[in-house]
């Protein structure tokens, strides 16, 4: 399980995260990425984190309760 956060001040709205993990990320009305959920066990979030050109996504692995 991953805890996900986005630094919206860094996000440039490239939309790469949304295309990799649309269950977790979406571009808001302002074009900046927002989270659909703050926790996910989807491995795609690690690729989304690595693929963010702005380095705006942080993830931390947490033990599932």
């Amino acid at each position: 399980m991953y805890r996900i956060s986005i630094d919206r001040s860094l996000c440039n709205g490239y939309g790469v995260c949304e295309s990799i993990a649309p269950d977790v990320f979406e571009l808001g009305d302002d074009g900046i990425a927002t989270l659909r959920t703050g926790m996910s066990d989807d491995e795609a979030v690690t690729e989304a984190c690595d693929s963010c050109p702005a380095g705006a996504i942080s993830i931390a692995r947490v033990e599932a309760a």
């Binding site: 996000c11 440039n12 709205g13 490239y14 939309g15 993990a21 693929s51 702005a54």
Partner: protein
């Protein structure tokens, strides 16, 4: 008296170099979105390369326009560099180049102003990059005096082929999951 060809040569070389840099920048942008190399390329570095190539291309366009104005072969007026149709030399082909250059500069500035205009509007405007590339290709082929040379033809065919391939790769190569419905 023989005319000094320095600015004429510089104008041709800078125009072709600007086209090459624009092509490389478009390819870098497509690599950024399509991620054909997976995690082998750092996206932040690719984004930096994409922006830097665009800036270099714009700088080369300044050199291209400046050289044409200083050259005595075409005698390009200042207005011809900024106003579509104001050039007496191949007016339509040059006008296409002027529009391409101004649109390219607008797209670059839109990145700097993305906070003010909104990231969504910035992304929409970025689609116009394809129009810039098409216009730049038409301008180069139609107004360039080297266009009939085999190496120039290869350059244009290679650039168009590479961008078409990368665009197809982005569109077809890597399926992405559909976004779930927004909850109301």
């Amino acid at each position: 008296m023989k005319t000094d060809p320095t600015f004429w040569l510089l104008a041709r070389a800078s125009g072709l170099t600007a086209y090459g840099l624009l092509t490389a920048s478009v390819l870098a942008g497509l690599v950024l979105k399509a991620r054909p190399f997976g995690r082998a390329l750092k996206p932040a570095a690719t984004a930096d390369v994409h922006r830097f190539l665009t800036l270099l291309a714009l700088g080369m366009l300044v050199l291209h326009g400046g050289s044409l104005m200083l050259d005595r072969t075409l005698r390009m007026p200042l207005a011809g560099l900024f106003v579509p149709g104001a050039s007496s030399y191949r007016p339509v082909a040059v006008a296409v180049g002027v529009v391409a250059a101004e649109l390219m500069a607008l797209i670059y500035v839109s990145f700097v102003l993305r906070r003010q205009i909104g990231a969504r509007n910035w992304r929409r405007l970025h689609w116009a990059t394809y129009l810039v590339f098409i216009l730049a290709t038409v301008h180069g082929v139609a107004s360039g005096t080297d266009s009939s040379q085999p190496w120039a033809r290869d350059l244009y065919l290679g650039a168009v082929g590479a961008v078409a391939f990368a665009t197809a790769w982005r569109a077809l190569g890597r399926p992405t999951r559909p976004a779930p419905e927004r909850s109301l």
